[in-house]
Amino acid sequence: MSTPVQMMPSQPSKKPVAPVQKEDAMLLQKEMINRNYHELAIAHDQGKKICATFVPGNLNELVMCFDLARSLPETNALQSGLRKKSGKFIMDAERDGHSEDVCTYVKTDLGMMLNGDIGPTGEPLPKPDLLLLSYTGCFTFMKWFELIRQKYGSEAVMLHVPYQGDGRVSKNMRDYVVKQLKETVIPALERVSGVKFDIDRLREYMKESVKAEEDLVHVLHSAKHRPSPIDGYFGAVYYIGPIFTAFRGTPEATQYYRVLRDEIDQRVREGKGPITPEGELTDEKYRLVVEGPPNWTSFRDFWKMFYDEGAVVVASTYAKVGGTYDFGFRHDPEHPLESLAEYCLGCYTNLNFPQRIDMICKYINEYQADGLLINSIKSCNSFSAGQLLILREVEKRTGKPAAFIESDLVDPRYFSAANIKNRLESYFQMIKAKRAAQAAPSATPATMH
């Protein structure tokens, strides 16, 4: 099912605003995210402590064992970007001494603090009591929490997750993460929250996680159908919202993914394409795999450049930053701490280049994609470093055309709509030409008989 939602224009305009089409699950996830912001706003008044942590490698089930409210700074930043608030925050952070070249999520977060700590929904975002730094391949995370600690004086605890330099997780690596969980992270959570750790409680949350993970994977795999019933990038950012943030392990998340799965199954049965903000995409012309995070400040304009051309993203690496569930990982209630360690070690940003390339090639083959598109983010080194190498290698291995566009996460100054549109149009033409060229040799012998 899809529901038209009347959007409020951000500035007075004479043009009527077209109702935005959304799946019911998209509306449900928005409600959940907004509810979490409200819970954060009133947490301290209700005697609850707040834990801030990052999406890749977030230990949501564990944090919930201590009755802590969960805040995710990247999500806060991207929500500010979607709501057109990040531009000012970034400039305020730059005026406060931050370089124009660094991660714009960080600057949005710092700018938000400079503007009175009002969260994306307009409610206050109180200071976190604990900064749980799950380090999974992004150096910026370390500095980000040091900066927040500098400002608020909150306690910070680091979970060091070794990078998969050799493309595998060894027993040593897993044991090292588990040891830190036992000796550093859990004691810090107990100290800050005043709640004793109960491993059976963790197991119960994990049982919920598994259900949601199964349903999410089912939804992501649905893009193998033709037409794809989902957009695995622009649509998927809604789908991953609850499980990548404060809801993994909750019954609400389980319910959300059940509703989503039913909706998508229905679309498959009816042979329908994905829902876009302007309604169902009925004519799937191009199937793409995308690497790199989206641009949030012009999210809808960006998406429109795809669906206007009949392009559907069937799989994306970004939809795996909070867990590579589609490659089989599930939280394991029987081995909860080991499973959390495996989860952190397997996050996309913690994978080495050969693993990332394998993943993309697999997507291109299994989802019958026409090619790879890389959205290179100016201020995100953990994603952008090595992307040209990825592009060349994927082209070589799959024989499918790849293209490269540049934008930013939440800095509106670095979204050049005309340039991106031009490049995309050229890319779609390239795919068309490639298809024609591939069809030609088989057509020639046919005419000879």
């Binding site: 070249d101 910026t140 500098q150």
Partner: protein, 243 residues
């Protein structure tokens, strides 16, 4: 470390023994000792060992075997000490932020030409990463692990366990080298160095240590703005500082 040792052994075609590791630790201890002597000499007499020269001597350590590099460092020290050079009324500064992508030599020369003596820096930190001698007795891997964990330099790519420790390493470096100010020179797009910078600046401001900041790229060719900024900074220290 054991995995690394095994992999290196495979590459070398023979297992790396404890004895070989201890011998290697001793060679590198000696190299670090020589580099420390060079840094101490430059901090004491920066006019005798300009950083544009010291940098090249250090850079050679990236390609020479450590024994040959140690000899080169000591030869340089002896050679430069043998020739008196003019001492100028330059500002003594610590250059920080260049621990990863290395600056072009022209940038270092420009800073010196602008009236600064660089008395400490974080170039090629690998040569000074371990702060003390590594024990050559006992389990070599354990000794190396302890050295890396407990006796290594502080830099932006490390997580600082406690808020109170932030900036202390830089402050101590400035104090020990008798610096009058700090120049932050980080490569563009170096998130760790650039994000660390405001935190370090806040600490320096608290302790009233003057500082200035700019960015560079490995292939930076335009040095005039950097010379201008470093010159103004040096002037502000020499002409208007409280001292």
């Amino acid at each position: 470390m054991q995995l690394l040792r095994d992999d290196l052994g495979k590459l070398a075609g023979k297992a790396i023994t404890d004895k070989a590791l201890r011998a290697s630790i001793a060679v590198y201890n000696e190299n670090r000792r020589a580099v420390r002597e060079l840094y101490a000499y430059r901090a004491a007499k920066p006019w005798q060992a300009p950083t544009s020269e010291v940098y090249l001597v250090l850079r050679a350590g990236m390609v020479l075997p450590p024994e040959a590099h140690t000899a080169l460092v000591r030869d340089y020290l002896m050679a430069t000490d043998g020739v008196e050079r003019p001492k100028r009324d330059n500002a003594r500064i610590v250059l920080t932020g260049s621990f990863c992508e290395q600056p072009p030599l022209g940038l270092i020369k420009s800073i010196e030409m602008a009236g600064c003596y660089i008395v400490d820096d974080d170039f090629m930190l690998v040569l000074r990463w371990l702060l003390d001698e590594v024990a050559t007795e006992g389990d070599p891997l354990e000794n190396l692990s302890k050295a890396f964990l407990h006796h290594s330099a502080t830099t932006a790519s490390k997580f600082e366990q406690r808020k109170e420790e932030k900036g202390q390493f830089l402050l101590q470096s400035a104090k020990k080298a008798g610096a009058e100010g700090v120049i932050f020179a980080a490569p563009s797009f170096c998130d760790p160095a650039l994000l660390e910078r405001p935190m370090l600046q806040a600490v320096l401001a608290r302790y009233k240590v003057p500082y200035t900041a700019f960015k560079y790229a490995e292939n930076t060719g335009q040095m005039a703005p950097i010379r201008e900024q470093a010159g103004t900074f040096a002037d502000s220290i020499k002409l208007w500082s409280a001292a």
